[in-house]
Symmetry: C2
Subunit: 129 residues, 2 copies
DNA sequence: TATAGCGCTATACTCTTGTATAGCGGTTAC
DNA sequence: GTAACCGCTATACAAGAGTATAGCGCTATA
């Protein structure tokens, strides 16, 4: 491991701690990752099921985001040779363990809102409208 | 609070839990937020100090990101009427408490890498090169 | 035969993020 | 006076993320 402290690594944009934070950020990044992961935390789902469950997502984005998540080891894609083919998406162990991370983020977000209300009425630019 | 469960809120892109996660995501979002916050976790800093500490950031981006952070209650900007003016940026209570969140993200990231190595050699698209 | 569902892909566009480069008005040091 | 530091802003551009819309090959149902 590097001699730099954790915080020094952060400000220097280098080191395994920063890599780790950024892996996490990257996995959750983009408008649709959270809804997809949230939906899959309930259990495996098929493409059309996800499309129906997640309001306003286009098949193009769903396909792209699922590919991202698969490539980064967050979901598995299983094709069954039924006729017509069936495809199922399921969270990996890593994917499921994101729940803990999300819970901490919820906690921080709620606390921050509590502190922040009274100073400003709303947070700028919330992703979900 | 909504009748929807936490997870239902996530997949539906609605509800206070999702708002909370997204506040958190939004605060950390962008290429330079993490280095800036990381740097400020050491204590207050002036504009040029940050510019020097964070490799390759342009004043334009530093200015913009600091403004974002200020508007969202993560840093305070204090102007001292010295000659010439001195400007100091400092983390708010919310800003400092992000440390906990970052630690959980580090933890998940490291675990994920451990699990993932052996399946693929590297994670796609790490933000910091 | 026609319609609908499945699991997508293709094309083309816009909108947001980030980069590159230059410069401003002020002050201090040589 | 001229060079350098401070705390930025302006302009122009490039790249990436997200949207809109259409359609593919397949099958099951009416």
């Amino acid at each position: 491991m590097s001699r730099l402290s954790k915080l020094e690594q952060v400000k220097n944009c280098s080191g395994e701690f920063v890599l780790a934070v950024n892996d996490t950020m990257n996995v959750l990044n983009g408008k649709w990752k959270l809804p997809i992961i949230g939906s899959l935390l309930y259990g495996k789902k098929r493409f059309k099921e996800l499309e129906r469950e997640i309001p306003k997502i286009t098949p193009r984005m769903l396909s792209k985001e699922l590919k991202d998540l698969e490539v980064n080891g967050i979901v598995t894609r299983t094709v069954y040779a039924s006729i017509p083919v069936t495809v199922e998406y399921e969270l990996t162990k890593s994917g499921n363990s994101l729940k803990t991370v999300l819970e901490v983020m919820v906690e921080w977000g709620l606390q921050h809102r509590k502190r922040f209300i009274g100073k400003r009425r709303r947070l700028e630019k919330t992703l979900w409208r």
